[in-house]
Symmetry: C2
Subunit: 152 residues, 2 copies
DNA sequence: ATAATTCGTAATAACTCAAGTTACATGAAA
DNA sequence: TTTCATGTAACTTGAGTTATTACGAATTAT
């Protein structure tokens, strides 16, 4: 089952955009997301509609951050992508006439609903600012491990 | 993203097999799972290897239950299917060099791991016997609602 | 033995859906 | 008015699943 990596890609893009300082073109972003500009525009469109980023045309145009990283969570970003299906597994028929299948679906749905609730709850606890902070921690450690050979 | 419905299908099949009493052919099962016999054999092969069902060739052959419904859970059945990926969403690169992407992946993985653990835990609490009992409850209610007009 | 039934499985075809691509229109800046 | 950049529709590609075909192997009944 092929996985949808748009959430991962978009977060990656947002963090790069923040440290970049000035607008990044779809082409820039496509390079860093290893995809192509049209896909970037399609994907980012949802974020723009939700007000998390803005896009400007023409020379010096491109994508820029339009939100407070402290106030936006992974859950918000996921919602802006259109709440893509989180689970790869599901019921064959959503409203089966067969009572056996109804019993099976009910049991599976209970479990999936609980897991989905937990996942979204977790997403809601992670702000973009927290992600950015984690990146800076990794960056600092990376520098201290690789920057001065004396410490190796 | 299309969903994998093998778990749902297989549970459906197991419950039918139990009430059927005698072996069911791949063709019988294909009808009730709305697929075709070869797919049934492929799907059930995992359950046979795990010892939950048996298959016999030749006339009067077919598939039959080979386990105690009280001792087998949804988690066991899911494992017998080869632990198919549960999530439709994932990271673009599993081991990225980019530190930004590493930070993003770490956050997402935390959330997914927690949700997966919960889901499997839930699966482990539901036995096939419980599913069968739930079906019988539904069947009884169905009869009382439709069988005697006096109660309507 | 022989015919009929049923599973086992490899090979292949058909289908589905997301991602990628092309093409062109729109708008902004210099 | 030229250049840069996004917006978007239409189309192509490609990966992954499921369905189908075809044939082999095992089992039962006669």
């Amino acid at each position: 089952m092929k996985r949808d990596s748009r959430l991962s890609s978009v977060l990656h893009a947002l963090l790069h955009m923040e440290s970049h300082g000035k607008p990044m073109t779809s082409e820039d972003l496509a390079t860093c997301m290893s995809t192509n500009p049209v896909v970037v525009r399609r994907t980012m469109a949802g974020l723009r509609e939700s007000g998390f980023v803005r896009s400007d045309r023409g020379p010096n145009g491109g994508w820029s951050i339009a939100c407070d990283f402290d106030r936006v969570t992974l859950r918000d970003i996921n919602a802006a992508l259109g709440e893509p299906a989180l689970f790869a597994v599901g019921n064959r028929h959503e409203n089966p006439a067969c009572l056996v299948e109804q019993a099976v679906n009910a049991a599976l749905d209970d479990a999936f609903d609980a897991a989905e609730a937990l996942l979204l709850e977790r997403f809601a606890t992670v702000t973009l600012a927290a992600l950015a902070a984690d990146f800076r921690r990794r960056f600092a450690r990376h520098k201290s491990e690789n920057g001065t050979k004396a410490h190796a």
